[in-house]
Amino acid sequence: MNFDFSDDEKLVQDQISRFLRDNCDLSVCRSVLEGEEAFATAVWQGFSEMGVQGSAIPAAYGGVEAGYLTLCLAALELGKRLAPVPFSSSIYLAAEAVSRYGSDSQKETWLPKLASGELIGTLAVTETVEDVSPGNIETNFSNGVLNGTKLIVPHGLVADIAVVVARCGDELTLVLTELDGSDRRAVDTVDPTMASATIEFKNTDAESLDVSDGWAALEDIYNRAAVLYAFEQIGGAEKALDMAVAYAKERFAFGRPIGSFQALKHMMADMYVALKLAESNCYYAAWALENDSADLPLAAATARVSATQAFQLCSRDNIQVHGGMGFTWEFDCHLYYRRSNFLTVVLGGLSNWENKLVSALPEVA
């Protein structure tokens, strides 16, 4: 058994990690949060130079073709730094949608530009404040044009193209559209570093992807993206835990470091346990994604559920360990808290994924 990443994969991870350490500390996330720029363009540019966006995109379409295990490790490193770049929307969602459901010519047109970072993509799904279901997609696609409004599109503010889930007659389908002509406005969310927008389509030109069942295609894209988001989540969880541990060692109260109190030690031990369970489930899901395993729906949901739990717990209790300082704008605790709560629902809520997990369980013997 070799249930570990290869040396080559770890080497790439190390390059990304060093680049982010030097160019993307939390002050970068904070500057995006405070509106100094819509996303970290210098980090995006650096990724382009290193080929990170194209990690799992075939060489024939301008990618590096290093595989999904490498992409998982890139996601992990991004998650650790809360990197405020449209990587997840553009790569886990838009590029995956084109790569799995695009025609040859669509792949030739769009994938090289997504792989190089020249274009930013996203996936537009949600239209209401209810969790997404086939029944609440109203955006219409007919005669080559889109009409309707997507209420919240992550990175919709900065994306150049969007894959849109739309209704075509009685069926759901996926279409691709350029966003430069559409009407979009920023929407205020718990994590402004995710650059979310409301996008309105009025007779906007769009092209169909090759999809027979739009909902099934969306589920397929979500399952694959769930693995990658889970790696971002455990990256964030790990750093939130590190931050809590570091603070508990240096902060004194009652004449001793607060990290010597069992009430806090045990809280952090539980954070560690949640993180390790999630990490191991992510490893398995990475294997399932890379190998197109029939186990992917179960492995992805399992990684998603435990990574969501871990990041939520670690980001929440990191604030608790910090006490009053953790509740200030000045301390970085809220950056993890914001991101964890956004990522929890970015592909539909936790209860949705719990439900999918149980549906994917093997039959009782």
Binding site: F3, D4, R256, H266, V273, L277, S280, W287, A301
Partner: protein, 413 residues
């Protein structure tokens, strides 16, 4: 990443598989397969006798205590070979419960501290199950605070004289020998005044009394020592070094790798798959599905963590600290699973009779056994201390007894 064996591992697995196919007590397969948590079912056959027979057969063929050196009764195998053995032994491994303490803890301690002559005398028979060993550590006033133990050993000529009481000694009633930690000097701080011995459990003055547990079973014992004499030649390590010796023992706590750790997930899954509740089939109820998903994610997390440990062993590395989470996660989960499963059945859920209860009362026995799981071999709280101090590097607790002579430490009585 891949889950397949290396060529050598595959060859070893094949060898193990064919030996087991030819030699395992297949007549016990059915009963062993239905064993609930904490029980070994052998149907009409005597469990201890069957355990000894299987162990002896393994030892004669070189399949006992795989990682021990050959001269100690083992096979000199690598850790990964040991894991492969555990995976292949499957349900027959449930027969080994009687030997876990002896093989996992007493043996390694003897290997590290006994004389060459003693090793030759005792280890092969320990490996083959001909002699059973127990570990005499916990005492009524010292469980989590093991170093607070009070059983006295006083020197008398070439012997030591032991007086005091041990508790929670698994399998003492079946044991031929035991390793025993004692207090030899109460006037120095507690970690410094202890000494380790091994003794014949049939010595004069040893009195073994089973403990009736809250679930009515008796897996543990109290052991009383009344002027029990142990020759100085049976001392393990130096006088006053008993704590160091005990750490060797505790470090060797068997990692439940390969065999897998019981969490209760298969039991709750099987139960809700069949059960009907007010809203219809239990497994279709959103609240049930939410719990089930959480528990699956935990049990899968433990299984996948074990795969990472196996990978480390396969590469010849030491598994990482993430392996310390197993019992902490599994013990609490088992208790939660049992409570929830019973709750879903309403009043009928409290029925313990396996003939009447759903799923042969497996969740009911888990309910009554799991409180012990969260205590034995390190309470949930001690495990959290270990994770926070040794893994996360947080400061130790402030200790009221630090540096204080043992006989001056407050006892509350």
């Amino acid at each position: 990443m891949d889950f397949s064996d290396t060529a050598e591992e595959a060859a070893f697995r094949q060898e193990v598989r064919s030996w087991i196919a030819e030699n395992a007590p297949t007549y016990l397969f059915e009963s062993l397969s239905t064993s609930g948590f904490g029980s070994t079912r052998t149907g009409e056959y005597d469990p201890l006798e069957e355990a000894r027979k299987w162990q002896k057969k393994k030892a004669d063929a070189g399949w006992a205590c795989l990682q021990w050196p050959k001269e100690c009764g083992g096979r000199g195998a690598t850790p990964i070979e040991s894991v492969i053995w555990n995976q292949e032994e499957g349900v027959y491994g449930r027969l080994s419960g009687t030997f876990i303490i002896g093989h996992g803890m007493c043996g390694p301690t003897m290997m590290a501290y006994a004389s060459e002559g003693q090793k030759q005398r005792y280890l092969p028979k320990l490996a083959s199950g001909e002699e059973i060993w127990c570990q005499l550590f916990s005492e009524p006033p010292s469980g989590s605070d093991l170093a607070g133990l009070r059983t006295r050993a006083e020197r008398d000529g070439d012997d030591w004289v032991i007086n005091g009481q041990k508790i929670w000694t698994s399998g003492a009633q079946n044991s031929d020998f035991g390793i025993l930690i004692t207090r030899t000097d109460p006037e120095v701080p507690k970690h410094k005044g202890m000494t380790m011995f091994f003794l014949n459990m049939r010595s004069d003055g040893v009195d073994i009394r089973p403990i009736k547990q809250l679930n009515g079973d008796s897996g543990f014992n109290e052991v009383y020592f009344d002027n029990v004499r142990i020759p100085d030649a049976q001392r393990l390590g130096e006088v006053g070094e008993g704590w160091k010796v005990s750490l060797t023992t505790l470090m060797n706590e068997r990692m439940a790798i390969g065999g897998g750790i019981a969490t209760g997930f298969p039991e709750i899954h099987e139960l809700v798959d069949q059960l009907r509740i007010a809203s219809g089939k239990a497994i279709e109820d959103p609240a049930v599905r939410s719990r089930l998903a959480d528990w699956y994610a935990k049990s899968a997390g433990l299984r996948n963590t074990a795969s990472r440990a196996i990978t480390s062993l396969s590469k010849g590395e030491t598994p990482g600290p993430e392996n310390s989470i197993g019992k902490l996660v599994a013990g609490g989960m088992m208790q939660d699973v049992a409570k929830y499963a019973i709750d879903l059945q309403g009043l009928g859920g409290v029925i313990l009779d396996p003939e009447i209860a759903a799923g042969s009362a497996k969740v009911q026995s888990m309910l009554m056994r799991s409180p012990g799981v969260r205590i034995e071999g390190g309470t949930d709280q001690i495990l959290r201390n270990i994770i926070s101090e040794r893994v996360l590097g947080l400061p130790e607790d402030m200790r009221a007894d630090k540096g204080v002579p043992f006989n001056k430490i407050p006892t509350g009585s």
